[in-house]
């Protein structure tokens, strides 16, 4: 199959939405960041010039605009830039978009996608490395989508764009240029279906976004040591596919969760808690978490490296759960 980058696949997903829905439009700059891959968006700008708007640096208002337009029958894909900028529009996302359907008694629909770039991107420092997906997972009413490869990006963008519900979507900076096999044809990837990115029988390793790639590398290292890791990518946190997770843990009896959100109340916490609550009987070892520690992100390279979840740290956690009885 042809190989293209995440950014190209992402743009194909957007293009599909544009073709499929005349009321679909894009509000935001630089959907694929400021690096060289930003150019792929030009295709969208040029093909649909009246359906792309570059807003001022007014995150609160243009997020509210996106939500309000969605309530008025539009489908809006709204790009916020670095995820830390979404804190400027937290009220528009959490207070408004997330609650409108519910508080209106189901009368209002809010088909809006808030897309942002997250993650340790090397040199991003305190304000350009934020991964707030766990904070949004704590806000009911939002779907949460984390593509981890080019193929998923295309299908998940399509599903998010077509969805009738507010969706928060995260792209990891390091994924943007990653190549992968992507079908030519249009397709949608259903929400709430985890993807087993590697089958294994010894340990369940759950990861999202860029951490899926890192986990797959960890699994390779471990395979050489005779440890057979199953890498589960939930793909969407809301809705969350408990079934696949629990089936995997039932098989392996061991769980490691790798994620770039900060440790406390992060994505690793919720996945661990689900299993400790609903699959406790299968567990043969403690549930280990490989997360970003609870420190702001330092700029300096050795400091940033120290707090980055790496394949070595993941492999080490897997070895530890294997050692326990």
């Amino acid at each position: 199959m042809r190989k293209i980058t995440y950014s190209q696949a992402f743009v194909e997903g957007l293009d599909y939405c544009m073709r499929k829905m005349r009321n679909f439009s894009l509000v935001g700059n630089e959907v694929m960041g400021l690096g060289p891959h930003r150019v792929h968006l030009e295709r969208i700008w040029k093909t649909y010039p009246d359906r792309v708007r570059f807003p001022p640096t007014s995150e609160a208002a243009f997020s509210a605009l996106a939500a309000g337009a969605a309530m008025s029958g539009e489908h809006v894909f709204c790009h916020l830039g670095a995820a830390s900028f979404s804190f400027l529009s937290m009220t528009s996302i959490a207070n408004e978009a997330a609650t409108a359907h519910y508080a209106s008694g189901g009368k209002i629909k809010v088909p809006v996608v808030f897309h942002m770039l997250h993650g340790l991107r090397i040199g991003g420092g305190t304000q350009h490395s934020v991964s707030p997906q766990a904070m949004y997972w704590n806000v009911p009413g939002l779907q949460i989508v984390l593509p981890s490869c080019a193929r998923d990006a295309k299908g998940l963008v399509a599903t998010a764009g077509l969805s009738e519900n507010p969706t928060v979507m995260f792209t990891h900076d390091l994924l943007i240029g990653l190549e992968g096999e992507v079908p030519e044809k249009d397709y949608e990837i259903p929400f709430g279906k985890a993807d087993i990115k590697r089958r294994g029988k010894d340990v369940t390793l759950v990861a999202t976004s860029w951490m899926v790639q890192v986990s797959l590398e960890a699994a390779k290292i471990l395979a050489d040591e005779g440890i057979d890791v199953e890498v589960v990518d939930p793909r969407t946190l809301v809705p969350f596919d408990k079934k696949t997770l629990i089936a995997s843990v039932a098989k392996t009896g061991r769980l490691v969760v790798a994620d770039e959100t900060h440790l406390s109340c992060g994505v690793t916490a919720e996945i661990s808690a689900i299993v400790a609550e609903e699959a406790f009987q299968y567990l043969k070892a403690p549930i280990l978490r490989v997360a970003r520690p609870d420190v702001p992100t330092p700029f300096s390279r050795p400091l940033e490296d120290f707090i980055t979840p790496t394949k070595e740290k993941i492999a080490d956690a897997v070895r530890r759960v294997m050692r326990k009885p």
Binding site: R53, P56, F62, A64, G68, M71, G73, S104, G105, N165
Partner: protein, 342 residues
């Protein structure tokens, strides 16, 4: 803005009826609150009815609207069923929003309302989205945001006006400045605007938005300004800002509303002797309903009898609506888990 002919008899009566619907609704509501039929803080529109009633007169069915914590008047003016509005405030299953919103989030999407936010300034950002949708649709629809003077303290209001102006969106910003006479939180009342702008319209003007300041108690003034503004919007010339100034109603000064000026009797418009001395200032100079009635009589557009008749009908419908709400069932607890997603 082109000059418009004044409001004729039919429109005037329609507007008066809207104002009475709102007034009777809220008078009843204070009673229902006293009867502990609902438990939450709430905000009344009494004293501001002229604004909502006149604004909707310029709107089309396909126009969009947003409102705030002080939404009753806007929703009712646009024609929402009072029974379902009461039911909403009482948390009943038959409420406009199934009882999930309550007074702070009451909305009537079937009449063009987007979500009702009680986050100050929230409605302005959402209305901006309504305007964006209207522009994309290209049918000349507008999007109206009703908000208080205090909302201009929130940065999102400024951001939204900027975007509306940049993109020439058909947004109608109706700022209801009820600041005059508000107590302020330091005296134990709800705060009102803390804005260093000598004129609120000056903020909109600094962003090159066409703006106008009017007496918010004066139906004709509001209608003239808003209909000109709406026409401007429909023609693609971009947003307008209308500041409607009212005195803060006495009953809205304390933390919880009080029917401080009593139940309005329309005949007070022509029979000042009836008015208790302590309410006289309000009834003579501020109550927009009595002011409008007096004006209509002066202009000989209607008779006293016609007014009394309209009011009687409004009251009868209000009583029916109230009964409907009070006898409506509560939703089932477990339905709380439904409708998180469409």
């Amino acid at each position: 803005m082109a000059a418009k002919p004044g409001l004729g008899k039919t429109a005037s009566l329609r507007i008066l009826e809207r104002m009475l619907v709102i007034r009777r609704f809220e008078e009843s509501l204070v009673e229902m609150s006293g009867e502990k039929l609902f438990k939450s803080h709430y905000h009344l529109y009494i004293g501001q009815e002229a604004t909502a009633a006149a604004v909707v007169e310029s709107l089309r069915p396909d126009d969009k609207l947003t409102t705030t914590h002080r939404n009753h008047g806007h929703v009712l003016a646009r024609g929402a069923e009072p029974g379902r509005a009461y039911a909403e405030i009482l948390g009943r299953a038959t409420g406009l929003n199934g009882g999930r919103g309550g007074t702070l989030h009451m909305s009537d999407p079937d009449r063009g309302f987007l979500a009702t936010s009680s986050v100050v300034g929230g409605c302005i950002g959402l209305a901006l989205g309504g305007a964006y949708a209207q522009q994309r649709r290209g049918k000349g629809g507008v999007s109206v945001a009703f908000f208080g003077d205090g909302s201009l303290e929130e940065g999102i209001s400024f951001e939204s006006m900027n975007i509306a102006a940049l993109w020439k969106l058909p947004a109608v910003f109706i700022c209801e400045n009820n600041g005059a006479g508000a107590t302020g939180s330091s005296k134990g009342g709800f705060p009102s605007s803390l804005i260093s702008a000598p004129r609120l319209a000056g903020i909109a003007e600094s962003l090159a938005i066409s703006s106008k300041q009017v007496d918010g108690r004066d139906v004709d003034a509001v209608h003239a300004a808003v209909s000109a503004g709406v026409a401007r919007c429909r023609s693609g010339k971009g947003p307008v800002f209308v500041e409607c100034i009212t005195e803060r109603w006495e009953g809205s000064k304390p933390m919880w509303p009080e029917l401080s000026t009593g139940i309005t009797d329309v005949s007070m418009a022509w029979d000042a002797g009836q008015v208790p001395v302590k309410f006289r200032e309000w009834h003579t100079h501020q109550d927009p309903i009595l002011l409008f009635v007096r004006k209509l009589l002066r202009k000989k557009l209607v008779t006293r009898e016609a007014i009394v008749k309209v009011d009687r009908e409004v009251r009868a419908r209000d009583a029916t609506a109230r009964r409907f709400a009070v006898s409506s069932p509560m939703p089932h607890g477990k339905t709380a888990l439904q409708r998180v997603f469409a």
